[in-house]
């Protein structure tokens, strides 16, 4: 009896009644990248104008430092860095879901209008409302969700196809982009400045009050997504094939999209639209781990690394001033997109 020829270090593992195929290559990459992301995060706790060393940070974390050091590390830097790690992971997971559902590497909340819609919502709140942080968050959430629904409805014709979502999404986000620019020109100067810095995507104002909801959101949605990820993979082969393999296509897809949008919305509401993490992380992870199709957990690890590194750059490049992290991810993303377009189609999806 011949044994099955498994490529890329896939190992069957059976323990009692449980069994799985362990993808060793993907597992090692995911764990490795996640560890590097955490290490970068830990190191960036020491970076800043306060001149704190690793010893001070360790003291602050274990509660042995003086109050001012503790405040800088635990109240200011830690929530922001945890947010960068979790937010990067959340954006990447959201992007992974969108790319899987649309069966297209360009399917991400950035491209399909969610980010522009969130920005529109935040701008309208700033223009007519109080401009408080909470108001901005709510405006962004509403704007993003409404845009998502509008794109879905316009793309719907006896079910939705990936290409139609993307084409409609690009159209809607161009329109909203023009509208956003116009709103900025009619605002009062200080309003426009603060709105524009939010719109660039920034972690400068992040505190525990932002980080905790994100953590809860991930704890709630991740199990749902992991339970659905096999079905998600089946649907990547086409609706008919997925259904023939026992997947309730419309129900699974709606659940996936809803949870994906929720994750992206949680990040956007606090930090503004951070570009390109959702787009790039799943694809980078897929290419590095050489899995067939995008995968949630490898994407999450890459997303966390991408955002925590971008945040570190944003804080250090023009220190003591800070760049919005969205500017850094946009630069990285532009380079990534050029690379993707240059390599896309060479042995791409048929």
């Amino acid at each position: 009896m011949t044994t099955l020829q498994w490529p890329r270090s896939i190992r069957p593992v059976r323990v009692g009644g449980m069994s799985m195929r362990l993808e060793l290559h993907a597992l090692l990459w995911t764990v490795g990248v996640a560890l590097i992301a955490v290490a970068v995060g830990a190191w960036s706790l020491t970076v800043g104008s306060a001149g704190l060393g690793p010893g001070d940070v360790l003291d602050a974390l274990t509660g042995r430092a003086d109050p001012s050091t503790t405040r800088i590390v635990v109240e200011w830097r830690l929530p922001r860095i945890v947010f960068a790690l979790l937010g990067g992971a959340a954006l990447a997971i959201g992007g992974c879901v969108f790319q899987s559902v649309t069966r297209n590497p360009l399917g991400s909340p950035d491209i399909i209008g969610f980010s522009s819609g969130a920005y529109t919502g935040a701008l309208l709140v700033a223009l007519f409302g109080t401009g408080s942080a909470l108001g901005t968050s709510i405006g962004a959430l509403a704007g993003g969700l409404i845009t998502g629904i509008v794109v879905y409805v316009f793309a719907y014709r006896r079910g939705v196809t990936g290409m139609r979502i993307i084409v409609v999404g690009i159209g809607v986000s161009l329109f909203l982009g023009a509208f956003n620019t116009w709103v900025l020109t009619v605002m009062r100067r200080e309003q426009a400045l603060s709105a524009a810095s939010w719109g660039a995507g920034s972690l400068n104002e992040i505190a525990w009050v932002n980080t905790v909801p994100l953590l809860i959101g991930i704890i709630v949605t991740l199990p749902i997504l992991l339970a659905l990820q096999e079905s998600m993979r089946m649907l990547e082969m086409g609706d008919d094939t997925g259904r023939a393999l026992g997947v309730s296509a419309e129900r699974v897809r709606a659940t996936l999209l809803l949870t994906g949008i929720a994750l992206v919305a949680l990040v956007t509401a606090s930090a503004g639209p951070i570009a390109f993490v959702a787009l790039a992380a799943p694809q980078l992870a897929m290419r590095a781990t050489r899995t067939a199709g995008v995968r949630l957990l490898p994407a999450a690890a890459f997303g966390a690394l991408l955002l925590v590194v971008s945040d570190l750059l944003a804080r250090t490049v023009i220190a003591p001033a800070q760049l919005p992290v969205g500017v850094v991810t946009l630069c990285l993303g532009g380079a990534y997109l050029v690379w993707l377009l240059a390599t896309y189609g060479k042995g791409g999806r048929s």
Partner: protein, 267 residues
Amino acid sequence: MTTAADGIDGRLRTHALTTGYGERKVVENLDLVVPDGSFTVIVGPNGCGKSTLLRSLARLIKPQSGTITLDGVDIATVRTKELARQVGLLPQTSVAPEGITVVDLVTRGRHPHQGMLRRWSRHDEEAVRAALERTRLTELSGRVVDELSGGQRQRVWIAMALAQETPMLLLDEPTTYLDIAHQIDVLDLCTSLHREGRTLVAVLHDLNQAARYATHLVAMRDGRIVAHGAPGDIVTAELVHEVFGVHARVIPDPETGGPLIVPHAPA
């Protein structure tokens, strides 16, 4: 009116099935029995509803009225995974995920049999091994699907459906886009799967291939069944004209003795 439901034993049947897309009715009031252990082939002109019928049998389209039953149970009430253990489908188009290998893709056929914690049992492995051998893909199992020829790729999709281990297999135009050698290859494979005891239902375009390979032929036109039965019993010049609007002679196939359709040459 001819109904196909008279006196045939079959687990899978339709009862006064009407279905289509939106307002348009493509199949109307249709009674069909898929005889157990048959290789049923559905033929008919473009737009006659043959693919729609097949897709309804696979529950890809909901009936507008009427029902489809498997062992007497309305398939609309069966759990999706349970149905997928009974009825397999080879759709017209499937997308191979970028970079996926043959063995990885075929393994996905096990999805309806797997649970959250039981993702690769010994039986899963056996089924995949058997499906690969059955489709002569064992040697190619480590290759990336994108790099295979069209004929090989079709065999991979068939292997995935075989790994599903369903007693029934539906094939929607399995020979489209293949050259004649690969068409024969796929149809011969279907015949041997049928001889091993599976019930097969296929939609085919080529009437002569249908007549040669089918054990039970269903001829459709305008959403209705015009005739059904063994090809040797039902294929006549009149039927070919009634179904396809083509004048033809029906002569004995020199290879099999079955019906061979030879269209008239223009005068």
